[in-house]
């Protein structure tokens, strides 16, 4: 299946936007202008972008603690995200959520989440709602290799498969749950194998190949929209940075990190696009400049935005 040039360039844009956003977050965190727990997605951009490229604004996603990439891929605005990280009133959550809780329900983003695995049944619920309301909407649930060991993984995916709900489970296997390598937290190599237990398709893809992710998730989304139920897609990938900013990473070697940096999903995609004749080096530079400009503007917006009033703490508890 040939992917339109416009689509490919749009995916490239989004990947670069995520990377530039997060590189800025690294600096702002180091400067103490962003506080709290910040989990970066650098190195995993192909998963969010390849998956979300199959969705429209009214489809749903559930995200994780490592959520910036999912949000941007789904259409989240970088200035409102940055303002949230700065704890400002103009942020997506009015400063109440921070990095781990950014959400934009208006475009189907049901939130980053500080509780590992929590999105799995929530995505099933969004898919159930789409089914009950008789729409063609689907939900994509992102979660990690670590999350595949939670109670929710079993209960959520079992429910979704028993009820043939329109949901796609996208497991980002970056080989670690904080410090614990996959080989020590589960007795299998491919998480996709678990699909068998639910009677649904299980697919392993190279999570650093955005086109491979796009195509695998595309098939699963089509299946979901046809009413045939969920798919479990495992994307093998790697986070370049520590679990969170400030993590000294005593559990992995520099060699391993360097090995994975060579498989960087953005340089790979860029090389491929150039090879396909879809993108010229000059255009790639232009996209990079454009994204840097956008992120600088996002920081400026965040800086200039007002802080919430302390009493706003008391608002939004009940509807």
């Amino acid at each position: 299946m040939a992917i339109e040039k416009e689509k490919l360039i749009d995916m490239y844009h989004r990947m670069v936007r995520i990377r530039r956003f997060e590189e800025k977050v690294v600096d702002e965190f180091a400067a103490g202008r962003i506080v709290g727990f910040v989990h970066l997605y650098i190195g995993e951009e192909a998963v969010a972008v390849g998956a979300c490229a199959n969705l429209g604004d009214d489809d749903y996603i559930t995200s994780t603690h490592r959520g910036h990439g999912h949000l941007i891929a789904k259409g989240g605005k970088t200035e409102r995200m940055m303002a949230e990280l700065f704890g400002k009133k103009t942020g997506y959550c009015k400063g109440k959520g921070g990095s781990m809780h950014i959400a934009d329900v208006d475009i189907g983003i049901l939130g980053a989440n500080g509780i590992v695995g929590a999105g799995i049944p929530i995505a099933a619920g969004a898919a159930l709602s789409a089914k009950l309301r008789g729409t063609a909407q689907v939900a994509i649930c992102f979660f990690g290799d670590g999350a595949s060991n939670t109670t929710r993984f079993h209960e959520g995916i079992n429910l979704a498969s028993a009820w043939k709900l329109p949901v796609v489970y996208v497991c980002e296997n970056n080989m670690y749950a904080i410090s614990v390598p996959q080989s020590k937290h589960q007795n299998i190599a491919d998480i996709a194998d678990r699909a068998t237990a639910y009677g649904i398709p299980g697919v392993v893809v190279d999570g650093n190949d955005v086109i491979a992710v796009y195509e695998a998730v595309g098939e699963a989304v089509a299946r979901a929209r046809r009413g045939e139920g969920p798919t479990l897609i495992e994307c093998k990938t790697y986070r370049h940075r520590g679990h969170f900013e400030g993590d000294p990473t005593p559990y992995r070697t520099k060699e391993e990190v360097d090995e994975w940096k060579k498989k960087d999903p953005i340089s790979r995609f860029k090389g491929k696009l150039i090879e396909m004749g879809v993108l010229a080096e000059k255009e790639a530079d232009e996209i990079d400049r454009e994204m840097k400009g956008e992120i600088d503007k996002a920081v400026k917006f965040a800086e200039e935005s007002p802080l919430p009033e302390p009493e706003e703490t008391l608002e939004d508890v009940y509807a």
Partner: protein, 325 residues
């Protein structure tokens, strides 16, 4: 005397108890090579190895459930639930297994388990990593609730908790660890009995009962109030179950005034329980209404300006005291 940090006090208690009793073992997320998310277990993995310091999958239900099974069959597990907010996951294991088994079996089973977990706001960790949930567990008969405020107490109480034959939940305030709070701890071995409050500062005008981080804020407020001629007695119960009612009541008999300061949301908090006990058992000693200084009944907000507003502080306590003296 030498000074050590709050985290070191926890490590030392675990180290000494593991050395003393081979049935003591640790399991939890990132307790191994990582040494605990805030370094509370530094060095234990190297010393005791992967059998006794066990990294688990992200499976809180299995962590607490397996602790119940291991404890019922002769081991003394010290499971860790990284943040108390994650205790929602293994709640059945706590609510219906851990705290019910002994009673339901007519006193036959022994479940010597200490669940260690982090509480508290103050580091911008937001709504799902900052709660103070001690009252939830006070409400469940069958589990003891420990909440230390100093390295000395942290060590002595953890050692007693591990030796106790009943289930214990042990709360570590993350700000005390990351500050890091240092305090005097003797080289020699000691334990602190569960159920014995500590008077952190003697005074005669107002009794302030405080826990965890709030003990330090109460002491700071007490120093300021002293300058204004108001003498504050600060009591740290150290364990909420069992609760040393007598020390609190004796103090109220002396001062006639009580303020309770905890970081929990106000409704249904440990402060509410302590207020009820004093109202019930020492009403005649009170010269003024009981006051509570707590967080508001909201989730914990992220933005530092909101989080600061959310957390009870010295000013809040001084205001409450001023209203009743």
């Amino acid at each position: 005397m030498r000074e050590i940090t709050f985290a070191q006090a926890i490590t030392e208690a675990l180290d000494e108890e593991m050395a003393r009793d081979p049935s003591v073992f640790i399991m939890g997320e990132d307790v191994g090579v990582y040494g605990g998310i805030l370094g509370q277990l530094a060095g234990l993995f190297d010393k005791y190895g992967p059998d006794r310091v066990r990294d688990t999958p992200i499976s809180e239900t299995a962590i607490v459930g397996a602790a119940v099974g291991a404890a019922a069959t002769g081991m003394r597990p010290v499971p860790e639930i990284m943040f108390c907010d994650f205790l929602g996951v293994p709640m059945d294991e706590i609510l219906n297994q851990l705290t019910k088994m002994r009673y339901m079996f007519g006193g036959k089973a022994k479940l010597p388990i200490v669940i260690r977990t982090l509480i508290g706001a103050g580091i911008g960790a937001a709504a799902q990593h900052s709660q103070c949930l001690e009252a939830l567990f006070m409400h469940i008969p069958g589990i003891k609730v420990v909440i230390p405020s100093t390295p000395y107490d942290a060590k002595g109480l953890l050692k007693s908790a591990i030796r106790d034959d009943s289930p214990v939940i042990y709360f570590e305030h993350k700000l005390l660890i990351v500050m890091p709070l240092k305090g005097e701890v003797p080289e020699e071995e000691y334990t602190i009995p569960l159920g014995k409050a500590d008077i952190k500062r003697e005074g005669k005008d107002v009794t302030v009962v405080a826990t965890a981080l709030m003990v330090h804020r109460a002491l700071a407020a007490a120093a300021k109030l002293q300058e204004k001629g108001v003498s504050i007695e600060v009591i740290d119960p150290r364990t909420l179950v069992p609760l040393d009612k007598q020390t609190i009541i004796d103090s109220v008999k002396k001062t006639g005034r009580l303020v309770i300061m905890t970081e929990e949301c106000k409704t249904g908090s440990s402060a509410a329980e302590i207020a009820a006990i004093v109202a019930e058992e020492a009403f005649d000693s009170l010269d003024a209404p009981i006051k509570r200084v707590n967080a508001p009944d909201t989730p914990v907000p992220f933005s530092p300006v909101l989080e600061k507003f959310y957390m009870p502080d010295e000013e809040n306590l001084i205001k409450a005291v001023t209203e009743i003296v």
